[in-house]
């Protein structure tokens, strides 16, 4: 089977080779867009103190190496990861490496898997790996060529180590900075040789310090909410309480009378109060009178939707996967198990509320934001302001978390700046309540599972039905195929377990509640249903949950005859983990956790394994259940196979954080809707996990030479089921309605 990764590698190499441009000054290479690359290189020639061999790298005469990150940094360590890859092939010293966010530019900075500039889907390192290795190797070759020219020696005799270019025979050496000017005039290599991975020094190093640690530890790191511009005004937007309502009319007089309020202007979906301080803008909002047009708004709430979904759960849906003949086999099964699950709407709630800054003049618009898709923001801003795309400049700053939310506020900041005629730079700040209530949520889902066992306790049929909104319905792209939103069934339709008869069905009812991706997307609920129900089946069959899973993971699912598995072509190759990675992480977590060793009464151990975002993860959770049903998660042992570990310590950090995120959702988080309005408003009623509930986390990373895969999301899905299975092991009670702060 052709690996998707290799396809990318080949594409990028081909583009790389054809991207060279001959100029009068010599050969320079632009990445993926010849004419633009040439422009960059020319710029470099005009300012020879900066060596800009390609779109991802600047080497300055002060000996700094600046990596231009095409992906945003929202905590997952992407800046450090991309810099690691470039610096490895460049043989830079880690201490000389800096990182800056890239400008909006689809051509130069597109995500190679998506085709546009976007940070998503735990693929930042995956899609950039070969590309950034080549970027580093190319610059290294040009620095070597410059040194060879200067010293009049053969390039073959020159070595580069830790940021120093050396000619050992003549005992000469030079820093990158001192060669930058000359390197900028060197012909770019037609071909570069990448390192043998066994010679990696930075990639795979046990701990390479994060590039953003210092700034985020001394308060100097700048997020969009921190951007300060002269004469800046502050905007706060009143939006409707109910989804789908719009302002009918508003009376701005009282708001304008508030001290330091300067203007009240309409924006899409709401009304903005502009003031000389954020506090004044909030006071203005309190005084603002808006009449909402609720004729098209959502009027239902969680109870009504639950009734609708429960009814759908009893009806056949669109088939997402079919192996064998599940209905017929269930009809003759010796034993049938069935269970239903309820998963609530969930919010992203990064600790930073949405915020952005926009500065507008007659022919230019600057935006400071951390938007997952800067070039799309650029296009929308051009549309709002009537400027051309190239007149809109997106300055990407640090993001205070995303978790699938993508970062918001840029559009509204531009709208307000435009509405006030660009007289002042505008900082939009949402309140916590604004950000929570105007979120696009992880949809609510209901699941029903039915399993059939034969007389020997073998699992012979598996029927999984899912009900919940599609997050991609009506949008272009391949996420929805044959009526199946792949993100609604991710982790359910592609289970790797060797069950002869499998039927997975989906209902995608629509409603007015806005929904979107949330860290680990469909796998966030599907893994819970699959892995806890499988635990039920194991217990019913009298089998150990670990042994039961191992037996079901004995064969490569790719070799199984599957009648139907709905997925767009681009997902085909990554539906299943490379065999037998799932089983290996399962076994690794079990061994490290001491699976099978006795625990005191009231404590239990649960296991779950899940493959998502091309990464396999298994957790063993140890849980203590108190006499009042209180749940304390004591320890989580995590085994991860995400391919080649580029930054092991960041992988570990993502695993630790992913455990917290998964635990938070299953223990506490729930958005409920009443008559079309969200009932929660802030952290007091949308609870998040706090440090006193954080278990010990032990992370074991599989050493792999496979291409690097995702880590931001795939740790999350198996957390909940491992904990639920541990609760069952401890006290024999099953939790199937989330969240579960206690067990009854």
């Amino acid at each position: 089977m052709k690996n998707e990764y290799h396809a990318v590698e080949e594409t990028s190499r081909r583009q790389f080779l054809k991207a060279g441009v001959v100029l009068a000054q010599g050969l320079v290479i632009g990445f993926y867009l010849p004419e633009r690359g040439a422009a960059l290189a020319l710029q470099a020639l005009e300012q020879p103190a900066v060596f800009a061999p390609n779109a991802f790298l600047r080497i300055r005469s002060d000996n700094t190496v600046t990596v231009i990150s095409k992906h945003i940094e929202v905590g997952q360590g992407v800046y450090t990861g991309l810099a690691t890859i470039v610096a490895e092939e460049l043989d830079a010293a880690w201490s000389q490496v800096r990182v800056e966010g890239a400008p909006a530019d689809d051509d130069l900075y597109k995500n190679l898997r998506i085709g546009m500039q976007v940070t998503c889907c735990s693929i930042s390192i995956t899609n950039s790996f070969e590309q950034h290795r080549q970027a580093g190797a190319m610059a290294r070759a040009m620095l070597v060529a410059a040194a060879a020219r200067r010293w009049q020696v053969s390039a073959d005799e020159i070595t580069v180590e830790n940021g120093v270019v050396k000619h050992l025979r003549s005992s000469r050496q030079a820093t990158f900075g001192s060669l930058a000017r000359l390197a900028a005039t060197m012909p770019a290599p037609a071909r570069v040789t990448l390192k043998d991975p066994k010679n990696f020094k930075l990639i795979g190093a046990a701990h390479l310090p994060r590039v953003d640690s210092k700034g985020k530890t001394n308060g100097s790191a700048v997020y969009s909410i921190d951007v300060l511009l002269p004469q800046m005004v502050f905007a706060s937007v009143e939006r409707p309480p109910r989804f789908g309502a719009v302002p009918k009319n508003y009376d701005a007089a009282a708001a304008k009378a508030v001290q330091n309020v300067t203007e009240v202007v309409p924006v899409s979906g709401g009304v903005a109060v502009v003031a000389k301080s954020f506090s004044a803008a909030l006071n203005g909002r309190t005084a603002l009178k808006i009449e909402w047009d609720e004729s098209k708004c959502e009027t239902r709430g969680t109870p009504e939707l639950l009734s609708e979904y429960r009814a759908l759960l009893e009806q056949p849906g669109v088939v997402a996967r079919r192996d064998g003949d599940t209905a017929a086999v269930l009809a003759r099964a010796v034993r049938i198990l069935t269970a239903t699950y309820e998963f609530p709407y969930l919010a992203h709630v990064p600790v930073v509320p949405h915020s952005a800054v926009a500065k507008l003049s007659v022919d230019h618009c600057d935006i400071w934001a951390c938007d997952a898709a800067p070039s799309a923001l650029q296009s929308r801003a051009a549309h709002i302001t009537g400027l051309r795309r190239e007149q809109v400049e997106v300055h990407t700053v640090y993001g205070g978390g995303s978790f699938g939310g993508g970062g918001g506020g840029g559009d509204t900041a531009v709208e307000v700046a435009h509405a006030i005629g660009g007289r002042f730079p505008v900082k939009l700040i949402e309140t916590r309540e604004d950000t929570l209530r105007s979120d696009r949520f992880r949809p609510m889902y209901l699941h029903k599972l039915t399993a059939g066992l034969d007389a020997n306790g073998n699992l012979i049929a598996w029927h999984h039905r899912i009900v919940g909104q599609s997050i991609f319905a009506g949008r272009p792209g391949g996420e929805v195929t044959k009526g199946i939103d792949i993100t609604s069934v991710g982790g359910a339709s592609n289970i790797a377990y060797d069950i002869p008869n499998i039927l997975v069905e989906l209902h995608s009812p629509a409603n007015g509640i806005p929904v979107a991706a949330w860290r680990s997307v469909g796998d966030s609920h599907c893994a819970f249903a699959v892995e806890t129900f499988l635990d039920d089946v194991a217990h019913a069959a009298g089998r150990d949950p670990l042994e039961f899973r191992r037996a079901l993971l004995a064969k490569d699912p790719r070799e199984k005859p599957i009648l139907e598995l709905v997925a767009d072509a681009r997902y085909r190759d990554s539906l299943f983990a490379k065999f037998p990675r799932d089983r290996q992480v399962l076994e690794l977590a079990a061994v490290k956790a001491g699976w099978g060793t006795p625990l005191p009464t009231g404590r239990g151990r649960g296991i779950a394994v899940h493959y998502s975002f091309r990464t396999s993860v298994a957790h063993v959770a140890e849980v203590t259940v108190g006499s009042g049903g209180e749940i304390k998660v004591d320890r989580v042992v995590c085994a991860v196979d995400c391919g080649l570990p580029v930054n092991p310590d960041i992988i570990r950090a993502q695993a630790e954080g992913g455990v917290a995120f998964g635990l938070s959702s299953v223990l506490h988080e729930r958005i409920t809707v009443k008559a079309g309005a969200v009932e929660q408003s802030n952290y007091h009623d949308y609870r998040l996990l706090r440090i006193d509930e954080m278990p010990k986390v032990e992370v074991h990373i599989v050493q792999s030479s496979e291409p690097p895969m995702g880590i931001g999301e795939p740790v999350v899905p198996p957390v909940g089921p491992a904990v639920a299975n541990a609760i069952f092991a401890a006290v024999g009670r099953r939790v199937r309605t989330l969240p579960f702060p206690t067990v009854a």
Partner: protein
């Protein structure tokens, strides 16, 4: 109207409404943005600063409450506990998105000024008012222990 206070060891007079939360006075009137806005209702701890050396939530503290008093923000921390905490945070790479970390560090410094070698339970009690959505709690605990060790070595 104006409020005078000692901010990061310097006397300042801020031209703000005395009822304005200290958070916004610091961020907007002074321009020190290391102190963060997270919830506005003292639930997340991102806005934690020290008032007379004790951690407070500046988002619900009116600027007038700081009149004539010493306020320290992340930009102005100093002393052995601060050095140890920031050093340990960097050494263990605690941060992810980093947005809550100013508040986490202000709470941690206050804890180490009170207790030289806190237990896990004491750390959990002192730090449970600070939310980290990235879930860096494992490293926050480890870094506070590390900071306590660093101070022992320093002595």
């Amino acid at each position: 109207m104006a409020v005078s206070l000692i901010l990061n060891r310097k006397s300042v007079t801020l031209d703000v409404d005395p009822n304005v939360p200290l958070l916004w006075a610091i961020r907007e009137a002074v321009g020190l943005t290391g102190t963060k806005f997270g919830c506005g209702i003292a639930q997340c701890g991102a806005c934690t600063v020290h008032l007379e050396g004790r951690p407070i939530r500046s988002c619900v503290t009116p600027a007038s409450a700081a009149a004539g008093k010493a306020v320290t923000t992340i930009e102005g921390v100093s002393g052995p506990a601060a050095r140890a905490v920031q050093g340990a945070w960097e050494k263990l790479d605690v941060v992810q998105c980093g947005y809550c970390q100013s508040g986490q560090i202000m709470s941690a410094i206050a804890l180490l000024n009170e207790k030289r070698d806190p237990t896990d339970a004491e750390i959990d009690a002192a730090m449970s008012g600070n939310i980290c959505r990235c879930g860096t709690y494992v490293r926050i605990r480890a870094a506070i222990h590390e900071a306590a060790q660093m101070r022992k070595v320093e002595r």
